[in-house]
C-alpha cells in the first residue's frame, strides 16, 4: 500500500505543495494585516472571511481530486496499468484514500491554526460573546465534517465503480449509478441516521445530558455512524474493484 501511496503522492506532489503553500501564504498575509497596530478591529471579520473563502476553495479542490483519483483509473487508459498490478482491490483503494485523509488532516490543521490566531485577534468581549452564544462542540464537529466528506467521496467511488462492474453492460449505466448514489444519500439520511439519532436523543434526555447528540452540531455518535458507513463502502468498493472489474 505504501508503494502505491508513494506514487499517488509523486504524481501530484507539485499541486499538493502549491495548494498548501497558497493557503499558508494567504493566511500569513491576512494575519500580517490584522496584526498591524493601525488595523481596525472591525476589519478583522473581513480578513477572516477572505481566509475562510480560500480555505473553502482548497477544500473543494481536495474533495474533487479525491474523487478523480479513482475515476481516472476507472475511465482512462491508465486503468490498464493500475488494475493489472498484482495488488488487492483494498490496497489500490486504500492508497488513494490515505492520501485523501492526509490531505484533509493537513487542511484541518492549517485552517484551525490560522482560525485560532484570527480568533485571538478579536476584542475580548467579542470572543466571550461568541463563545457564550454558540452551542458548538468543536472537536466532534470537526471530526463529523471530516468523516462525512470522506464518506461522501467513498460513496462516489462506490457509484463510479458500479458503472465499471455490476452495471457495465447495462444501458444508461452512468445515469443508473448517479441514481444509486442519490438513493443511497436519501437512504442514509432517512433510514440510517434517523432512527439511531432519535433513540440516542431520547436516552440522552433521560439521563439528563444533551451533549454531543445532535447530528447537525456534530457529536461523536454521528462520527461513529460515519465510520461504520466508511467501512461498509470501503469493503464493497474494494471487493468490486478486485473481483468484478470490467474496463
Amino acid at each position: 500500500m505504501m508503494t502505491l501511496l508513494k506514487y499517488e503522492i509523486y504524481r501530484r506532489w507539485i499541486w499538493l505543495v502549491l495548494r498548501y503553500a497558497a493557503l499558508i501564504v494567504i493566511g500569513a498575509i491576512l494575519l500580517n494585516r490584522v496584526s498591524s497596530p493601525a488595523y481596525q478591529y472591525e476589519f478583522i471579520g473581513e480578513s477572516i472571511g477572505k481566509f475562510a473563502l480560500t480555505s473553502l476553495v482548497i477544500f473543494i479542490i481536495i474533495i474533487v481530486e479525491g474523487i478523480n483519483m479513482l475515476k481516472e483509473d476507472l475511465f482512462e487508459e491508465c486503468g490498464y496499468l493500475t488494475f493489472t498490478i498484482p495488488k488487492k482491490g483494498r490496497t489500490i483503494l486504500a492508497s488513494k484514500l490515505v492520501l485523501l485523509l492526509l490531505q484533509l488532516i493537513l487542511w484541518t490543521v492549517i485552517t484551525i491554526g490560522f482560525g485560532s490566531i484570527f480568533f485571538s485577534k478579536l476584542p475580548y468581549h467579542e470572543m466571550v460573546q461568541i463563545e457564550t452564544q454558540t452551542n458548538f462542540y468543536f472537536f466532534p464537529t470537526v471530526l463529523f465534517i471530516l468523516t462525512a466528506f470522506f464518506n461522501f467521496v467513498l460513496m462516489i467511488h462506490f457509484s463510479l465503480t458500479l458503472t465499471k462492474t455490476l452495471l457495465v453492460n447495462k444501458k444508461y449505466s452512468g445515469l443508473l449509478s448517479i441514481g444509486i448514489f442519490f438513493f443511497l444519500v436519501y437512504l442514509i439520511e432517512k433510514v440510517y441516521y434517523g432512527p439511531f439519532l432519535n433513540q440516542i436523543k431520547h436516552i440522552s434526555i433521560e439521563i439528563g445530558s444533551r451533549s454531543n447528540i445532535d447530528l447537525l452540531s456534530g457529536g461523536y455518535t454521528a462520527v461513529f455512524l460515519n465510520l461504520i458507513l466508511i467501512a461498509i463502502f470501503f469493503t464493497a468498493t474494494a471487493y468490486l474493484l478486485e473481483k468484478k472489474i470490467n474496463i
Binding site: N169, E242, K243, I245
Partner: protein
Amino acid sequence: MEQVLKTTQLSKYFYQKKALDKVDLSIEKGKIYGILGPNGGGKSTFLKIAAGLLKPSQGEIAIDNKEPGVYTKSIVSYLPETNYLYKWMKIKDALNFFKDLYTDFDVKRARKSLKFMELEEEEKVTSLSKGMMGRLKLTLALSRKAKLYLLDEPLNGIDPISREKIITSILDSYSEKASILICSHLIYYIEKLLDYVFFLSEGRIILSGNAEDLRNKRGMSIDKLFQEVF
C-alpha cells in the same frame, strides 16, 4: 506438456453483441502462440480477460490453474494496445514503477532493452512517438520474468525500423519457461515467431493448429492463409 492457460466455452457479451463465443483453447509452456484475426474479432477482449481487466460472461478461464486475480497478475505480463502509462511519467519513472510493483521485473534487462530500443530514461512518455511508445511498452512487458506474456497488437502503427526491433526483442525474450501469446492482424511480420496459431473471427475460433503443420498442409504461408480465410 504443462498448460499455462486454458479456457472452456469462454464467452463475453457487450450488451447484445458477442465479442467471444464459446472459445476453447489452451496455451502450453514454452511456446509462442498467435491469435490472428481482423479488427473487432475478439482478440483484445480475450487478452483483457486473461489479464484480469474483463470478466467473462460465461465459461471459464484458468491461468496456472487459477482464475484471473491477484496471483495471476503476478505471473502474467500484459502489453495493451493503448498508451496505458501515466501521463506524468518519464521513462525512468515507468521503470521504477514496474520495479517497485512487480517482483519479477528485471531492471538490468530493461535498461539493456532501452538502449537497444534507442530510448532515453529522461524522456517523458507524453513526448514519445507511437513507435517509441510501442518500443517502451514492449521493453516494460518483456523485462518481467513472467510465466505468460500477453502482447496485444505490438506492431500496430509501428514504423518498419521499430517493427524489426520489436520482433528481435520478442525473440530474445523467448524462454522455455514462459509462453507468449501475441494478438495481431499484421501476420506477415510475426509469422516467423509463431509455433501455434488460432484464427479468431466474430468471437469464434474458426481455424487453429501448429503453424508449421498448417503451412505444409495448405501449401502456403500463414499470412496467405489468413488472407484466404478472411
